[in-house]
């Protein structure tokens, strides 16, 4: 038997195996000692969050979920952060006072802590408190599942089940009243729905190149959003890379939730797996596509506006590298100055719910871990600065 014959009879290696092998090679270097736990997380059942539908009466659902011991991680976060901060302050104050006046400082410390208000919290910790988004999750280590969503008397579903980490990019976008918002890669629509839950979007454009996936977006809008609000969302099916040609610089906030290697899906599901041999080229082109989509997103943003870029991959090539390249291209080719925002307060705020990677050069990354099996989710926020980059010699960039 010749070599050709051997190849023909060689067993087909499942794409999930190829994906895992690929990840073993690259992520073990990136994540080092953390990789075994992340790998285990990817290979076990993921955790969900229940995004409450504010367009449906939420009181009884809230009650039901709280009886099950689930909590709204969005509203819990600042409360917890305040407690931690308070703890730290109290500790400091306690230490200071015990030095000055042995023993009798305790009462005053408590008073101080109780009266600490939102105004006293550091500004970034306060920032995302105003969101109307409510998402329930079960505590760390609790593997209870949510029941499927149920329709209310008007036929709208009561919650949307999603990876709770998917909300972080939306929270990072921090939609303000009357903002014009673009969701460039929107289907099937989980984040679009979350954006609508803020209740403050001035205008929302949801785009996705895939017609079949756009249908799913429509379906979600139909299942969760009343007609009059649904009709204010403009759904389109353009290739996001061409968005700039449609008139740029009009949005206050742009979400660029790009196609990626969908790491969790790739190690678990054979269907539609990007690690299939025949999709090698497509996979290799992903970082390029991501960069182009992010560029289009940046160009669609008003000066002073913000872009959040996100993926559900751990790959630095699809995450930090895309950001770095985009910032560089924006400056050199479009004369647009970009500021990469610091999101480290997210790590403080949500440390109880998610397990964050502490070594991200840019942006934030949620790592799967069995005790909090959400993610992977990478998100990074960019601000398009007003004014242009002053002409300067290229050498100063490198």
């Amino acid at each position: 038997m010749g070599v050709g014959g051997m190849a023909a009879t060689a067993p087909r290696i499942p794409a999930t195996r190829l994906a895992l092998h690929h990840f073993d090679m690259s992520y073990s270097l990136q994540l080092k000692d953390l990789w075994p736990s992340v790998r285990l997380g990817l290979l076990c059942e993921q955790k969900y969050g229940a995004l409450l539908n504010n367009f449906s009466p939420v009181d009884h659902v809230t009650q039901e979920l709280e009886l099950l011991n689930a909590t709204d991680f969005v509203s819990e976060a600042p409360r917890k952060a305040q407690r931690w901060q308070r703890g730290a302050t109290a500790e400091e104050a306690g230490r200071g006072e015990s030095r000055a006046q042995e023993g009798s400082g305790e009462g005053r410390t408590v008073m101080r802590a109780e009266t600490m208000t939102q105004a006293e919290m550091s500004p970034p910790l306060r920032a995302s408190i105003s969101s109307n988004i409510k998402c329930y999750t079960f505590p760390r280590g609790d593997i209870t599942r949510f029941r499927p969503a149920r329709p209310d008397s008007l036929g709208l579903l009561d919650y949307y089940l999603m990876d709770a980490a998917s909300l972080l990019p939306v929270l990072a976008l921090d939609v303000q009243p009357d903002d014009f918002v673009l969701d460039l890669c929107a289907a099937p629509g989980g984040k679009t729905l979350a954006l609508l839950q803020t209740g403050v979007c001035g205008h929302l454009a949801a785009n996705d190149v895939s017609l079949s996936r756009t249908k799913r977006l429509y379906h979600i809008l139909h299942s969760y959003v009343p007609k009059e609000i649904r009709e204010t969302v403009s759904v389109t099916s353009y290739d996001g890379r061409d968005w700039g040609q449609l008139g740029g610089g009009t949005f206050h906030k742009v979400l660029v939730d790009v196609p990626c290697t969908t790491d969790r899906h790739s190690v678990m599901e054979e269907d539609n797996n990007i690690f299939h041999k025949r999709r090698t080229k497509e996979r290799q082109m992903l970082p390029m596509l991501q960069l182009q989509l992010l560029m289009a997103g940046i160009l669609a943003t008003k000066p002073g506006g913000e872009v959040v870029y996100s993926t559900c991959s751990l790959s630095p090539l699809q995450n930090e590298h895309v950001i770095e390249r985009a910032v560089e291209i924006a400056e050199t080719e479009f004369n647009i100055s970009i500021h990469v925002e610091d999101l480290s307060h997210f790590r403080t705020l949500f440390q109880d719910t998610f397990s964050f990677f502490s070594d991200c050069r840019l942006g934030e990354l949620v790592l799967p871990h069995l005790t909090a099996n959400f993610g992977p989710m990478y998100f990074c926020k960019l601000r398009r600065m007003r004014g242009t980059v002053k002409a300067m010699p290229l050498s100063s960039h490198g």
Binding site: P36, S37, R39, L40, L43, C44, I143
Partner: protein, 274 residues
């Protein structure tokens, strides 16, 4: 009621005839028995304990049972301990006990090994013969353990004989095919001492963490941890030194895996119905 009393009297009446009276006057019942037991090597205290077991039992039974155990090479204390833990042995017909002792001897179990086996698994003597034969056949013919290995397995994990052959086979196949371990290593690692579910937990935990790979056909060298370590380390040490993980993580994993398994079974049943 009257009948039972009568037959009790009858048995009691038979005692003096069966056993020559011990020298000297001995008004207390069982005194002659005690002497006989002491003659077999039991200490006074051991004899007293032995007599205290099922006091109404005929002395022949007690002696015969004790003798069979001693003949297998058990120490007096071990024999006594066994009888204390499974008093059923005393009620077993002598021939049956004899026969089982013969079988265990044929399987190569005697002396110290039998002593250990019996203390781990007192049911060795009372377990139905068919069960035992089935388990032995499975280990020899389907799992292909050598006679020597079988002896070692029975000596160290005698409870295999109580296992349902189907589950035992599954346990073996899992280690052989899924983990790629040879019989020799299984024996050395005391494979069957760990309940199957726990073995599976530990193995899949390591595997999903990227720390264990099923060897390819013919592959002999792997960087997998030794089966012995996977099985014999206490959970705390297994987590710390082999899996490099924490109890919190492992606890969640066990819950998830149990749920996965339950749901797979459900799916299989659904398929069977279709």
């Amino acid at each position: 009621m009257a009948g039972r009393l009568l037959s009790g009297c009858g048995r009691a009446a038979a005692v003096p005839r069966a056993l020559p009276a011990a020298p000297g006057l001995c008004p207390r019942r069982g005194c002659g028995e005690a002497a006989a037991l002491r003659a077999m090597g039991f200490s006074e205290e051991q004899a007293r304990r032995l007599l205290g077991l099922q006091p109404r039992l005929g002395p022949q039974r007690r002696e015969a049972a004790a003798a069979q155990l001693l003949l297998l090479g058990l120490s007096a204390e071990a024999a006594l301990g066994l009888l204390e833990r499974s008093p059923r042995l005393l009620r077993m017909p002598t021939e049956q006990l004899q026969e089982r002792a013969g079988e265990l001897r044929r399987l190569g179990l005697d002396g110290g090994q039998l002593q250990r086996a019996v203390s781990r698994c007192p049911q060795l003597f009372t377990l139905p013969r068919r069960r035992m034969a089935a388990a032995v056949r499975l280990l020899r013919e389907r799992c292909l353990f050598t006679a020597e290995q079988l002896r070692e397995v029975l000596g160290t994990c005698p409870a295999v004989l109580l296992e349902e052959p189907r589950l035992l086979h599954h346990h073996f196949q899992y280690a052989y095919f899924r983990m790629g371990v040879q019989q020799k290593e299984m024996v050395k690692a005391r494979l069957f001492r760990m309940p199957f579910a726990e073995l599976r937990n530990r193995h899949i935990f390591l595997e999903r963490r990227g720390l264990y790979q099923t060897p390819h056909k013919g592959q002999t060298q792997t960087s997998n941890p030794k089966l012995k370590d996977i099985l014999q380390l206490p959970e705390k040490d297994f987590l710390a030194s082999l899996a490099h993980s924490t109890p919190e993580e492992y606890e969640v994993f066990k819950k998830l895996l149990a749920r996965e398994e339950k749901e797979e079974e459900g799916e299989e049943e659904d398929r069977d119905v279709l």
